[in-house]
């Protein structure tokens, strides 16, 4: 019996080997990915009319953020012929799915875009330039759209054609617990980095956790790191690196100084000892429980914090090295684009324009999304209740816009930089397993590796 089974398996093997070889030979002949979706490009007339015929808009959005659903409901209320078919996924899932979904026959009309460069390279996103002209989006403040512009072919970001708009424009800074602030003697938000560090030391000696920050699956300590990096050098160099401008490098004195500061803070115990085991939700939960004086985060948490820490939470933009300087902060649009294979691109563009200009939509953007609604600067901002953290983040956002200090997130520089370099290297850094010099070099090495592909 064993003999015959061996014979049989040999026979099977004899069949399998040519089959595998044939498969491999076949594979060599037909390369994967050769059937490309056709690009719709920027040519062809566009319409700014919604019409009255029934339209079903496919919308692919991020779960956990009620803004999109609220906007869609309001839009349908105002334009009953348009219905939305909303598909929601987690941010990371969208990042992973976006290319496949956009390349499919059932591509979404409107999609939340984590990163755009690869998608534009592969002709998966609609060039919105015709709509810029048709709707007058060129009258929006240039800084609002700069992060959504891409050079021809999808290489360098920051100039060229427009490939998306934001449903809200977020700003990041520092949330603080007012009770704990009083306890450590913080009368008003710090105006310099030195003052901020003094407060950290005071909190530490008062046995108050100075900064509540996550660093588990995605490096949350990259928030304070970039906040420092933005101040220590010319923020334009940070932007150039994020936008993949030729010759830009992460290995700069500013980034190194920021990394050294972060390591110093980690060694001083300013971050939670288990930061590497804390995820985003746990961080917010701990901060709400009163465990932490500061938390580096974005205005998308304003509404939530107003609800759960009513009256006990404040917000400030991270200060510069010298008092009275211009503010620089990570600020990015809650980006949405239109699929190159979208069935209703005109209606999608109409919706995006409406979200920026309709008074009711702007109000929803602020109250539900917690962020600046964008759009032309002459449109009034919806009013929000004074004394809330939402009103503070909104003011910060306006201030940043006026000072032209918005810089995109370093984590958005390439599709893989956050997962492949920033997160693991930052975890090593705060655990003392990586030197500041090693950190900036490792991030730059991964960046170059990705750009060379």
């Amino acid at each position: 019996m064993p003999d015959s089974s061996t014979r049989f398996s040999r026979r099977r093997l004899a069949l399998l080997v040519p089959a595998l070889t044939a498969g491999l030979v076949m594979s060599a002949c037909s390369a994967p990915g050769s059937d490309q979706p056709s690009s719709t490009g920027s040519d062809g007339p566009v319409s700014t009319e919604l019409g009255t015929g029934p339209i079903s808009l496919e919308l692919y959005a991020e779960t956990g953020f009620p803004l999109v659903k609220a906007l869609a409901d309001e839009f349908t209320k105002q334009h009953p012929n348009v219905k939305f078919n909303i598909r929601e996924d987690q941010f990371t899932v969208i990042t992973e799915n976006a290319p496949r979904v956009l390349a499919s026959d059932n591509a979404p009309d409107i999609i939340r875009l984590p990163t755009m460069v690869d998608l534009v390279k592969d002709d998966l996103l609609k060039n919105l330039d015709p709509y810029v002209a048709a709707y007058g989006w060129d009258k929006f403040p240039a800084s609002q759209l700069v992060q959504l512009r891409l050079a021809d072919g999808g290489g360098v970001r920051g100039s060229g054609s427009l490939y998306g708009l934001g449903l809200g424009y977020s700003v990041t800074g520092v949330f603080y617990n007012k009770t704990l602030a009083t306890q450590v003697g913080m009368a008003k938000p710090p105006t310099t980095i030195a003052e901020f560090e003094e407060l950290l030391a005071k909190a530490k000696s008062a046995k108050v956790q100075p900064i509540m920050q996550f660093n588990k699956n995605t490096a949350g300590i990259n928030f304070p790191h970039q906040a420092l990096q933005n101040q220590f050098g010319d923020p334009a160099r940070v932007s150039d690196w994020i936008f993949q401008k030729p010759g830009a490098t992460f290995d700069t004195p500013a980034a190194l100084k920021a990394t050294q500061t972060i390591q110093r803070w980690a060694q001083a115990g300013y971050f939670p000892t288990d930061a590497n085991a804390l995820d985003y939700a746990s961080m917010v939960g701990e901060f709400q429980k009163g465990n932490g004086l500061f938390m580096f985060n974005g205005d998308w948490e304003s509404g939530n914090l107003d609800k759960n820490m009513a009256g006990n939470v404040g917000f400030f933009l991270f200060p510069g090295e010298a008092a009275g300087g211009k503010h620089v902060a990570m600020s990015a649009p809650n980006t949405f684009g239109v699929g190159a294979r979208a069935k209703n691109p005109d209606a999608a563009a109409f919706f995006l324009n409406w979200a920026h200009t309709d008074p009711k939509a702007r109000e929803i953007s602020v109250k539900v999304g917690g962020s600046h609604p964008g759009g032309p600067s002459d449109l009034p901002l919806p009013s929000v209740a004074e004394g809330t953290v939402l009103s503070e983040t909104l003011k910060a956002s306006q201030q940043l816009g006026a000072e032209n200090g918005a810089v995109d997130f370093t984590a958005n520089a390439t599709g893989g930089i956050f997962a492949a370099a920033i997160t693991p290297e930052m975890q090593k850094l705060v655990a003392g397993q990586q030197t500041p010099e090693g950190y900036v070099k490792a991030v730059q090495a991964e960046y170059e590796k990705e750009l060379s592909r």
Binding site: L20, S27, A31, T92, K121, L124, N276, K428, Q434, R453
Partner: protein, 321 residues
């Protein structure tokens, strides 16, 4: 199938032997044999087509993709064996592969050793209702989804989790830490979760195996003056050869191909301290869009699994008398 046709041919000459007429049997038999052969394939066809479509085809396409530099959408570029070269030379990827081998200790050897110990202890209880309870409790980790187990263990091992609370309560406050968040303890902690998950399966398999051992063997051993330890090594262990083989095969595959426990409990961190090939394949393919490199790593992982598992299959095969 072969034997069925054989028996027909064996019976035929007897039937035709006594009668003096042209035997139509042979052509008929041949025709029927051939039809039966094809009919057999027909029965297998649904399963075979599913297997071909969902197992062999992806396997072949993975091998194909591993020879390209491809982002999953755009035009692929033929790079031959470059991706394999990267897998065997990139220090990060080698560390990731070595992590999987370290996990074998926790996922395989620990559960099998502990399983043998626990099985020996509960063997005598297996008949009564208490035995059922013990078996159920031991098997519970197998029933719980790994994701849920991962989440629960994340709570247990957090800085203010139950594990640290117990340590503090017994005066060991000095050793408390974020078990899954520190470089030294993250991989062993993930391993402990794996041990917990695999222990039940191994114990149940081994208890079942023990129940099949002829009691006369134990009796004979006892008459020869063997104590419980001697009994275990002389009778129990050799008799469980096949069960241990199954346990090792299943658990080694689980260790090398682990994904869910690691993804939930540490996401591969801190650094790449707990990243395993399964997680890295997923990340390379979907986050970093290096489908070619991910496929090459997948093929290498498949080869590693076979290299580890095939010798175990051979060593633990029942010897024929």
């Amino acid at each position: 199938m072969t034997s069925a046709v054989g028996s027909t041919s064996a019976g035929a000459p007897t039937r035709a032997g006594g009668e003096d007429r042209q035997p139509p049997v042979r052509p008929y038999r041949k025709r029927w044999g051939r039809t039966a052969g094809w009919l057999g394939w027909l029965w297998v066809l649904p399963a075979l087509s599913m297997y071909g479509f969902f197992v062999l085809r992806p396997l072949l396409t993975t091998m194909q993709y591993s020879l390209y530099n491809w982002n999953g959408i755009g035009r692929a570029e033929w790079v031959g064996l470059d991706n394999y070269l990267t897998v065997v030379t990139d220090s990060d990827l080698l560390k990731i592969i070595s992590n999987a081998f370290i996990l074998i200790v926790f996922f395989s050897f620990a559960p099998v050793c502990l399983g043998l110990l626990v099985a020996s202890l509960v063997r005598r209880l297996s008949a009564g209702p208490f035995g059922t309870v013990v078996r159920t409790v031991l098997f519970l980790p197998q029933v719980i989804p790994l994701v849920a187990a991962g989440i629960a263990w994340t709570w247990l091992l957090s800085t203010d989790g139950l594990v640290n609370q117990i340590l503090r309560a017994v005066g060991l406050g000095g050793v408390t830490r974020a078990w899954l968040g520190e470089f030294d303890t993250a991989l062993p902690s993930v391993g402990v979760i794996g041990t917990w998950v695999m222990l039940g399966l191994c114990t149940i398999l081994l208890v079942t195996g023990m129940s099949k051992i002829d009691p006369a063997l134990y009796e004979a051993a006892r008459i020869d003056g063997a104590g419980p330890v001697r009994e275990f090594f002389a009778v129990t262990l050799p008799s469980l050869r096949q069960e241990i083989g199954v346990c090792l095969t299943v658990t080694i595959i689980a260790a090398l191909a682990s994904f869910d426990i690691v993804y939930i409990s540490t996401s591969g961190g801190p650094g790449i301290q707990t990243t395993v090939p399964g997680l890295e394949i997923y990340r390379l393919a979907f986050s970093q869009r290096q489908v070619g490199l991910a496929s090459a790593l997948a093929v290498v992982l498949m080869v590693l699994v076979l290299v580890c598992v095939l010798p175990i299959q051979r060593l633990t095969r029942e010897e024929k008398a």
